[in-house]
């Protein structure tokens, strides 16, 4: 009887002591962070678990900032981030004795969409910014006919809202009368029925709705060539309004975490990237 108890205690002691990952279990990988990447990471996890049935990968969102905070606290193995880690966060990492290691796993392109009947086909980043801050109100100022621009944006809860504000609006505020749509599908719906509307959507979504909307070719500045948004131009970095999607780990990834990240960068992993509407990096 006593022997049985001793064995049990030993087994318990072993299982709780041996795990080195955040979940306390070497067969469990936790992923947390960017909401933009939740869907992507979720599909990665599913595909990975099909090949490795003994491993559990759990994915949660909460935002890039939340993910980095969790990485700092040791609450997650992997942090998804749709932005670069901030200096302040890097300092916090140093204080904790953690080295945040970055891996770029995919790229995301933001497409400016208009009605196919709109004659305006090219805009500079600056012109787009002016439309969204309210300095440009009429298509005639952009070489189009005399018609008021109907400006569509995502709601402020969308990660894309912030990214777009930073890179295209140059951190200025959106115009007050921009229509804030609750979903990307609503933006596409309005553009389809409104000749003079403009809105932004992710490249994957834009490609799917290609029969309903036209994509604006974007010039980085007035002298640059106009670049059509596509998988190739986003991957090469030629298209201006794009961002890398990153994974951060505490120190060089090891064990199952390393295997998972390697899977993300493998050919099937990058195929998932394409299927979920982002641009592969490999």
């Amino acid at each position: 009887m006593a022997a049985i108890f001793t064995t049990m205690a030993l087994t318990l002691g072993c299982s709780s002591g041996s795990g080195d990952s955040a979940g306390g279990n070497e067969n469990e990988v936790t992923v947390k962070g960017s909401d933009t990447m939740v869907h992507l990471a979720g599909v990665w996890a599913e595909e990975y678990m099909k090949e490795h049935p003994d491993t559990t990968v759990s994915v949660t969102g909460g935002g890039s900032g939340t993910g980095i905070a969790a990485l700092l606290n040791g609450m997650t193995d992997i942090c998804n981030a749709s932005r670069k880690i901030k200096d302040k966060e890097l300092q916090q990492c140093k204080q904790q004795g953690i080295e945040a290691v970055e891996t770029i796993v995919a790229r995301d392109g933001i497409v400016l969409a208009v009605n196919p009947e709109n004659p305006v086909k090219e805009l500079t980043v600056e012109q787009i910014g002016k439309i969204y801050i309210g300095a440009t109100n009429n298509w005639s100022e952009l070489g189009g006919p005399d018609a008021e621009i109907v400006v569509l944006s995502r709601d402020s809860s969308s990660g894309t809202y912030g990214f777009f504000q930073k890179t295209v609006l140059k951190k200025k505020d959106y115009r007050a009368d921009a229509k804030l749509m609750p979903a990307t599908s609503a933006i596409v719906q309005e553009i389809e029925g409104n000749k003079w509307a403009i809105g932004y959507v992710g490249l994957g979504y834009a490609a799917e709705a290609a029969d309903k909307i036209a994509m604006i070719s974007v010039k980085a500045d007035a002298d640059s060539p106009a670049v059509v948004p596509s998988e190739e131009t986003v991957a090469s970095g030629e298209y201006s309004i794009s961002r890398p999607l990153r994974i951060y780990t505490a120190g060089e990834p090891q064990g199952k975490v390393k295997e998972f990240i390697e899977f993300c960068l493998s050919a099937p992993g990058q195929e998932v990237v394409r299927e979920t509407g982002y641009v592969p990096v490999k």
């Binding site: 018609a147 930073k166 951190k171 200025k172 505020d173 007050a176 009368d177 229509k179 804030l180 029925g193």
Partner: protein, 279 residues
């Protein structure tokens, strides 16, 4: 005892909701202060300076509600008069459930209908740049309020004592005169209460409004412009807002204002309805 307990549970829940809302909103009143709420700009996400002025949101909610009420009153009351006074019993049995069925349509379905069907109609009729306007929202909300208004007004009209009508007819009034001069005035407090309850439903409605009004936080009195209501703001922004941030607190302040507004409307409606019953 059991009955008392269950009755007080719902009251307790209402009180707890009030306490919770105030608790979450309170830090906002210290920093940045209650004055911030009276600003004219709602810019919760900004690299320059965030502002949490609720004026555009209140303005949006009021505009949408008022226009919806103006559309609801003639349609709802006339329908109620017809069903109560003119329709044959067979017609009534057919019409009333049909009108009440309108209340059973989920608001997200109505919102989708608004986005795809009503929006383009409004855009073409008024020759606008976009169909995402306060008016589109009001039309949808009127559709939602009409069943409430019809149902309660019809009850009020039918509760007018037969003797009133008999007396009016005996004095030589026509049927139409009796209806407009006697029956409807006698049922007026019930009709007003019906309209108020309909308004209560309208001001708290979220999903349909969020889908069709365009959600631009601008201050306007024109129903042909895009507006952002309080409900849509909370629904759209609460999901992603960092817990405990100023923005989070501001949304709770919006919630309090909304709760107080619906509370006031319901109180008035109940008062009027009570007066009507004791008369």
């Amino acid at each position: 005892m059991l009955l008392l307990a269950s009755a007080s549970t719902s009251i307790l829940i209402v009180l707890l909701i009030f306490v919770f809302l105030f608790k979450e909103a309170a830090p906002f009143l210290r920093d940045p202060g209650v004055g911030e709420l009276f600003g004219t700009r709602w810019v919760p996400v900004s690299f320059v300076r965030e502002s949490y002025g609720m004026v555009p949101l209140v303005c949006g909610s009021v505009l949408v509600t008022v226009v919806a009420t103006l559309i609801t009153i003639p349609l709802g009351v006339c329908a109620a008069v017809y069903i109560a006074e003119i329709a044959s019993p067979r017609e009534r049995e057919f019409l009333k459930p049909l009108v009440e069925l309108l209340a059973a349509i989920p608001s997200v379905v109505l919102g989708f209908f608004g986005l795809v069907v009503l929006g383009p109609i409004v855009k073409n009729v008024f020759d606008l740049s976009s169909g995402l306007t306060a008016l589109t929202g009001s039309l949808l909300l009127a559709l939602m309020a009409i069943p409430t208004v019809v149902s309660i007004s019809e009850d009020a009209i039918r509760n007018v004592p037969e003797s009133y009508k008999a007396a009016a007819l005996a004095l030589g009034s026509t049927r139409l005169q009796t209806m407009w001069k006697v029956t409807i005035p006698a049922a007026m407090s019930g009709i007003i209460a019906a309209v108020m309850l309909g308004m209560g439903r309208v001001i708290g409605e979220t999903m349909a409004v969020m889908m069709v009004t365009g959600n631009s936080p601008v201050i306007t009195a024109s129903p042909l412009e895009s507006v952002r209501t309080m409900t849509a703001t909370i629904a759209a922004e609460m999901g992603e807002v960092p817990f405990g941030s100023t923005h989070y607190r501001a949304l709770f302040c919006v919630g309090i204002v909304l709760l107080l507004a619906t509370f006031a409307i319901n109180m008035v409606a109940q008062r009027v309805l009570k007066k009507h019953r004791t008369e």
